[in-house]
Each structure stands twice: as C-alpha cells, then as structure tokens.
C-alpha cells in the first residue's frame, strides 16, 4: 500500500482507467509533456502516446466541443480545465450540448466525458485561480458533479467518473493536491454517488465536500476538546446528491451546518438547507446554518484566509446552532 498525494493518486487513477479502456483519452492545455500545471497527468503522454494524451490549442470551448465529437465517435475523453476560473469559455458547450445530448437523442448518444477541474482557493494565487463554480453545474440538469476530498477517493472516484456513461464534472480541491494518504488500489470503492459519514458525532452535523472536508474534520477534532461531538459528512457527489445519507445524519444530530468555499447566495448550501428544512421540519433543533465564502468575487490572496471558511468560522456556527 502506497502513500500517495492526491495529485499522484489521481495520476494513478487516470493511468488505471487508460489501461482498462483503450477508448479513454486525456486532453487539455499543457497536460502532455508538462503533465499539467499540477502534474496530475505526469508521465501519461510518455506511456500512452500522443494519440491518447494530447495537448490542445488554448481554447476551452474547443476542448469540450471536440471532446463531445470524440464521444460521439465512441471515445471517452477526460478533459482538463487548467483552473476553475477558465471553465467559463466552455460553459455553452457544457450546459447546452454536453448536458443535453443524451436527452436530446433520447439516450441514443451517450456522453461519457469527464471534465477535471482543479478548484477552490487557499494557494495564494492571482485572480480566476481560486473559484468554486460547482453550483453553476449542479443546477444544470444532465450533468453529474462530484468532488473528492482525499487521495483514496481521488484515486477511485476519477476512475468511476470516467467509467460513467454520463458527463461528469470532476472537481479537484487544488489546495489538497499535496496531502498524502495510504491508498490501497486493490480495495473496492464506495459507489461514486454516495456521500459518506467521515466522522461520527451526536451534537450537530457538518456537511462539506472537497477542500472543506478537512477543515470540518479539524473543527470536529477541536470541538471534541470542548466536549462537543460533531458528525462530518463528505458529500462527494454534488449532483446527484446522496440525500438519504445527509438526512439520516441530521435526523440523528438535529443540527446541520453546511460548509463550502463558494459564495452562499443560491449555492449548494441553500439547496441542502432548503431540503433539510422541508424534510426534517418537525425534527430540526436549529435552523440549518451555512458557512461559506462571502458573496463577493474571490479576493486578492493576501486576504483569502479571511474569505475562506476556516475552523473558527465553522465552530462559531456550531456555537450559534447549539444556542437554539
């Protein structure tokens, strides 16, 4: 069993997917010789050749648009979008084509396209390199949206996403790329669409995904010292959402706090809060609270620590929740 960073775990996952299915292609900007700016595709072009792993011209609509054509031809393209903030030129191809072709063709044309997107902040980057655009895609029918929070999930989820016959937006929490874990590549992973209780607790449930799972785990550890028992749910799949797992947890604890980096207004947290409030109307002991990025553009990096939800803000919300 190897200790792998998330970047390496993804790399191995991609490699396995390519070995298993000759139709899998990897394409994007600088993903060949360079191995991607985060080295997630490192070595793949060397081993699988330029036909299967290729650098594209610099245009995201072109990347997704040609990936769609390749999928119609029977390929399974895995596109890398270099940074979260550069997915928008491809938005039309994603929302009006990729998402709709299966329905448009009544299932006759499958769209097994995976779009990998390093996302989120916390790495001291300049503008457009720290965005959390997942809600834009979760709101779009026809897409599936997932995100990994640790190397083990990263390794398996990328393979599952590629194996899916539906288009998957695969968000990778870039500031967790370098965190390590033991990855047993022989284990049987959970189904891709399942959420997971990553820490059990009784007083309140923290609901998070991607980069914020670690933040919530840290918060739960800190809270324990104050005698508070927090449960943490890692959503993993944002669309479809594994609502039963969330519901079961919150039913147990009676309190829920949703945590994400993306702005709050009309974000994932709103959906989860709305649904929990409806389904657990008689059971909630406090309203669902949200701890999120502010409703502003992502700020210059010297103040990103203030913008991003952190342990303290999570615990502050826990206090507020418990005060009800």
């Amino acid at each position: 069993m190897a200790q792998l960073t998330m970047a390496k775990a993804l790399n191995e996952g991609l490699r396995t997917a390519m070995e298993k299915d000759p139709k899998v292609l990897i394409m994007g900007e600088d993903i060949g010789k360079l191995g991607g700016v985060f080295r997630v595709t490192d070595g793949l072009q060397k081993d699988f050749g330029e036909d299967r792993v290729f650098d594209t011209p610099l245009a995201e609509s072109g990347i997704v648009g040609t990936a769609i054509g390749l999928a119609i031809r029977g390929y399974r393209p895995v596109c890398e979008i270099q940074f979260d903030g550069f997915i928008y030129p491809a938005y039309d191809q994603i929302v009006s084509q990729l998402a709709k072709i299966h329905a448009r063709s009544r299932g006759q044309v499958k769209m097994p396209v995976t779009i990998r997107v390093p996302f989120g902040g916390g790495i001291g980057a300049v503008e457009h390199h720290s965005e959390s655009p997942e809600a834009y895609f979760a709101h779009t029918a026809g897409l599936k949206v997932v995100t990994c929070s640790n190397p083990v999930d990263a390794h398996f989820m990328i393979q599952q996403a590629i194996a899916s016959d539906d288009p998957v937006l695969f968000f990778e929490p870039k500031r967790r790329y370098w965190e390590k874990a033991d990855v047993d590549t022989t284990m049987t992973p959970d189904p891709l669409w399942n959420a997971r209780v990553v820490r059990e607790g009784t007083d309140a449930t923290l609901i998070a995904y991607g980069p914020m799972v670690k933040t919530c785990m840290d918060a739960a550890t800190a809270a324990e010292e104050d005698g508070r028992s927090l449960e943490v749910v890692d959503l993993r799949s944002l669309s479809p959402l594994d609502f039963p797992t969330v519901l079961a947890s919150v039913r147990r604890t009676g309190r829920a706090i949703v945590v994400h980096e993306a702005p709050s207004y009309v974000g994932l947290g709103a959906e989860i809060a709305a649904r929990l409030s409806e389904e657990l109307y008689y059971e909630m002991e406090a309203p669902v609270l949200r701890v999120t990025g502010f409703d502003t553009p992502y700020p210059p990096s010297r103040v990103e620590e203030e913008y991003l939800p952190d342990l303290d803000r999570v615990l502050h919300a826990v206090d507020r929740s418990l005060a009800y």
Binding site: P57, G65, T66, L70, I72, P240, L241, P244
Partner: protein, 383 residues
Amino acid sequence: MSVTDLPAAPGEAAREAVATSTTAGAELVQLLTPEGERVHHPDYDVDLTDDQYRDLYRDLVLVRRIDVEATALQRQGELGIWAALLGQEAAQVGSGRALRDKDFAFPTYREHGVAWCKGVDPLTLLGLFRGASNGGWDPQEKRFNLYTIVIGSQTLHATGYAMGITKDGAVGSDDGEAVIAYFGDGASSQGDVNEAFVWASVYNAPVVFFCQNNQWGISTPTTSQSRIPLYKRAEGFGFPGVRVDGNDVLASYAVTRKALDAARNGQGPTLVEAFTYRMGAHTTSDDPTRYRLASELEAWKLKDPLERMKSFLYKQQLVDSAFFEQLESDADALAARIRKGCLEMPDPEPLSIFDDVYDEQTPLLQEQRAAFGAYLAGFEAGH
C-alpha cells in the same frame, strides 16, 4: 497584405459588392449556369450517369416539396415553427449526395435536404418542429447528427469526431472516412466556428466545413459578419477555402466530393462556401419584408436551383413528360404521407420528461417522476 496596403474603410457600396450582390464574383465554381448550360471548370467536374442526373433533380423536387408541406403545416398550427430551406436545395442535395454512407454529417436546424440524402424520415424532422421531440432519429445509425440549434456548436463536434476518425486510423486512403459540418454565414462570426478552424487545421482533421452563405442571418446581411468573402477565412487558418455556386447542384456536388476525398485521404480540412440564397423567411416566425427588398428575391429567383437543373435535363434530353408526371405523383404521395404522419403524431408522454436525462437515472429524478406521476394520477382520479 501588409500595413502599407491597408484597405480603405469599406463604404456601404463596397460592402454591398462583397457578398449580398447576386453575383458572387469570378472565384465562384459553377458547372451549370442559371440557364442550365453545362460549363466547365479547370479543377472541378462531375461525370454522372443519366440516372444520377435525374436522381439529383428528383431529390431537389422532393426536398422542396417536403419544405412546402412543412411550411403549410406550420401555417395550420401543426408545427410550432419551421425553418425553410427554400432556395438552398442544390447546396444541400449536392453536398449531401457527395457524402458516402459512412461519412458523418453535423447539421444545423435547416439541413432538411441533407437529412433527406442521409435517409432521415422527414416526418422525424417535423416531430422536432412540432415540439414532439428534439430530433428523434438515431444519429449513429444515420450518420447524421441531431439538429444543433445553438449557432456554431456543431462545428466543434464535427471536428472532434473527425479527430476520432484519425485516431481510429480510418483516414489516409480513398477508403477513409470524412465528416461534414454545416453552418451558416452568420455562424462564421461565432468563436466556436473559428476554434473549430484552429483545431481542424492543427490536427489536420478530415472535416469539410460547409458554409451555406444564404446572404442572411435572420435580418443581418453577410456583410455585417465579414468584409471579405467568407471562403477566404480558411486562408487565415492555413487550409483551403473555395466558393461554389450553391444554387448549382452539380458544382455543389463536385466541390464537396473533392473536399471530402481530400479529407479522407489525409489532406485535412477544407472550407466550402456555398453561395446561395434564403428565398423564404428565416423561419415561419420571421417577416423578411422588414429588412430586405423584394427586388433582391426577384433577382435570385432567376437562379432557382430547381429550374436550372430542369433546364439542363431538358437540354440534355434526359427527361420526358412521363418522368415529370411520375415525380409529381411521388411528391404528392410523400407530402400526403408526412401530412398524415404529422397530424397523427402522438404527443410525448408527460412522464417521458424525466427519462433519458441521464444514462444512469438519479434519485432526484426518480422522486420527481414518481411524485409527478402521483399528482397526475390524482387529477385523473378526479381529486
């Protein structure tokens, strides 16, 4: 060009001359004059059997008949909208018949003539415009993609598909496969179309970009999209462009075939600009009298693609009155069949809304489907 020979700002007059005039300039490939005279071109030719000539005409007539019937059905409220191909039959039939069975076509919403050549039942097209489906044929089986309405998107799909052909090794000989991407003059301004040019050129993809310059993008003349002829766009991307008389079915056939053959042989992309005219409204919702002169239409009527092929057949003595009678009656039968089919076409089941959104259905949609089913059932039960 260099900075030293800057063109003057194009005046109205100069711009008029570029593309909306009814004469397309010397660079136009033509094999049949508007009067149906067979002319010759140094680079392009066709050599068809008598039957093939007759079949091309037959296609033109039947395709126009489908179009006329569909327009009538729309007027009668049976279709939500219809995008007529009136005037563009030769460009579509010529290019469509140049396709081999395995060549894949990526149409816009107006390629009814290409659909016909690819064996798509016109009734299926009507289903889309009626609002009963978003297509309905199997693109893989027909090798004809579903109609794409977002302007320009399909050119990237076509290019990606063509890249796939190369990856499959199905290119580089006369047995190779090729792709054709249809789009309009208006579409030439879209980023996607220009990105498709970049991709196709860089990957030397076996794709033919077939631009029907019908002089208008709704109310916008081609001169508002480009100040030089559109076929020249390809030069800027490093692949050949050619302008063909799109009202000449023989030239459209010859030019497309040659470009497809170049593609399948590994010579990469070509841009074909078919110079033609949208004789009708943009769609049945449109009113072209608001933005264009009747005289322009009149001038183009003299170049009608059907008339010139008819004259050619007469001049070559390839047809007799029996041929026309038979064709007329075939057309009538076709029209009657699609009319009947349209009137009888069932609406989709309400619960079908939830189907096929995904390959693997989601719990959310399962729930919504079940809840909506129960809700509808409640109504039927009279609650």
